[in-house]
């Protein structure tokens, strides 16, 4: 696959919205998510000739988004900043309850360590398998399992009854 601008444009048109949404869940800020996707797509464009199969482009971009997001959050943490993110405005009446829960989720995600947050988004928003998630993060499947379990436990602790994760609990009562 050459660095075919038309094919790349087609890929961006088809997938950028989905990639931006996933990036937003990872970083909790719309502007930051857009920067993240733009940076990841630049890397994808550079790597386009060696990606061979266009289907690889999405996996490559997702990996770039994830690893860059983790790096950004580690830098913030190490600089003493808290990743609060810009979450949806609270509303009154109408969809207030729904917005409150969304607000709670974004706040809870922001409190997870970066890798746990990435694992939760990849597994339960992107619907990646444990193996696919491990490939994105460059770790073993066992690490994905342990990070998933720890992340879900923290989310449950932070959100309480607002979040139903019973479907993610195995028959042995262990978190997914």
């Amino acid at each position: 696959m050459a660095r075919d601008r038309a094919a790349f444009a087609e890929f961006v048109a088809a997938r950028s919205s989905a990639l931006q949404r996933a990036a937003y869940l990872m970083v909790g800020d719309v502007g930051l998510a857009q920067d993240l996707v733009q940076e990841a797509l630049t890397k994808t464009y550079v790597a386009w000739p060696r990606l061979r199969d266009p289907a690889n482009a999405e996996a490559y971009t997702r990996k770039a988004i994830t690893t860059t997001a983790i790096t950004w959050f580690r830098k913030r943490s190490w600089n003493g900043e808290r990743a609060t993110g810009a979450v949806p405005d609270r509303a009154t009446g109408g969809h207030a309850d729904a917005l409150d829960v969304r607000h709670s989720l974004m706040q809870a995600l922001a409190q997870l360590p970066p890798r746990q947050r990435a694992v939760i988004v990849l597994r339960f928003y992107e619907d990646l398998t444990e193996r696919q998630t491990a490939e994105v993060l460059g770790c073993a499947v066992g690490t994905v399992k342990s990070q998933t379990s720890a992340g879900l436990t923290k989310l449950r602790d932070l959100m309480g009854d607002e979040l139903d994760i019973h479907d993610l609990v195995t028959s042995e009562g262990v978190l997914a």
Partner: protein
């Protein structure tokens, strides 16, 4: 109100995003490609000049490529031990060699170097001799023991994935063990290969083939590095250095996902964006000045006191390589300008960490 996680994330992600600027993306990508080509061209013409201090630097060559100093002079056993790959060339402060394939990843052993090309072939490079020694996975990951000639990787075979240990000093494979596909090689130290299999850690004795399991005192911790009996584990928010029969030493406040232990295990550095070196017996940080560089990250130990550092005075480059002496709190610039970060990280540049920087 109770909602499923998936439903909730679908709703939460429904934000308003501005349209992506495709022209800006492709223009930035084209700039990276042009700079990468430029830096590779410069590197192929680079000559190595030795300063009076005995430290070598890369300098622009005359372009004839015939300078004797650019020829391969073997592994710098008494030099800084530094190495880096650009395109098809492996460089050290005292020489360089055209290995004839793109160096996607490489590691150093006591004997020479082992590289992976863009077709996942594994090559042994000893002096001027370059020869294939195996095959690895699409995302390369080599681990080596710089105090011996041993290197290990995962090799896909028709019968399944195997963990392979090759000894460059013996010029042959010394161990090949079937492992599951969900396996990761972690470290190779003192004749033992450490692998992660489905979240559990096994040690494989290279000589006997005996295997046993190990674990951290902290549940779910990830093993990052092993040297001389010291194991570095990554917990959720901290690192642990564990040794037999001693309480874990805790290291807090570090950003980074890769740890590098000195050969004697007494010090550790991380791939954080500022140079962080810690005493593994106390967990205390050891300060090393890098002047006004805004980025500095240790990536390899040259001996028990000297750590190789990739650094820059700006967020974009030029990228430098330093050799920092911990006990003296000093750093020496070994390579002043490898180009900008964008072009280096976009491909064709390798440090002896066993993985491709493109995959990071």
């Amino acid at each position: 109100m109770t909602e499923k996680l998936k439903t909730l994330m679908d709703r939460a992600a429904d934000a308003d995003f501005a349209a992506l600027d495709l022209d800006a993306v492709t223009a930035a990508g084209d700039r990276v490609v042009r700079r990468r080509r430029a830096v590779m061209g410069v590197a192929s013409l680079a000559a190595v000049a030795v300063l009076g201090s005995g430290v070598a630097v890369l300098a622009s060559g005359s372009g004839d490529g015939a300078d004797d100093r650019t020829r391969w002079t073997g592994v710098p056993v008494d030099g800084s031990g530094m190495s880096w790959g650009v395109g098809e060339e492996l460089h050290t402060p005292v020489g360089s060699v055209d290995v004839g394939h793109l160096v996607r990843a490489h590691v150093r052993t006591r004997v020479g170097f082992v590289t992976v090309d863009d077709a996942a072939n594994v090559w042994s490079v000893i002096g001027g001799e370059v020869r294939p020694i195996g095959q690895t996975q699409a995302t390369p990951h080599l681990v080596s023991d710089t105090e011996t000639g041993q290197v290990a990787w995962l090799e896909p075979t028709p019968g399944g994935v195997r963990a392979v240990v090759h000894d460059q000093s013996l010029d042959r494979r010394v161990r090949s063990v079937p492992v599951g596909k969900d396996t990761r090689v972690v470290a190779l130290d003192s004749g033992a290969l450490y692998v992660e299999r489905d979240g559990k850690y096994d040690v494989i004795d290279v000589e006997s083939g005996d295997q046993w399991q190990i674990g951290s005192s902290e549940s779910g911790a990830e093993l990052l590095a092993v040297e001389n009996g010291a194991l570095v584990w990554s917990g959720d928010d901290r690192y642990l250095v564990e040794r037999d029969a001693t309480a874990p030493v805790v290291i807090d406040g570090v950003a980074g996902s890769v740890a590098m232990l000195s050969p004697d295990g007494s010090r550790v550095t991380f791939d954080a964006d500022e140079l962080r070196v810690y005493d593994t017996m106390t967990g205390k940080r050891l300060e090393i000045g890098v002047d006004d560089r805004v980025f500095a990250s240790g990536y390899e130990w040259l001996d028990n006191d000297r750590v190789a550092v990739i650094a820059s005075r700006s967020g974009t480059g030029p990228v430098e390589l330093l050799a920092c002496e911990v006990s003296a709190d000093t750093c020496v610039q070994v390579v002043p300008d490898l180009g900008g970060f964008d072009e280096l990280m976009a491909g064709g540049f390798s440090l002896p960490v066993g993985t491709s920087l493109e995959d990071e």
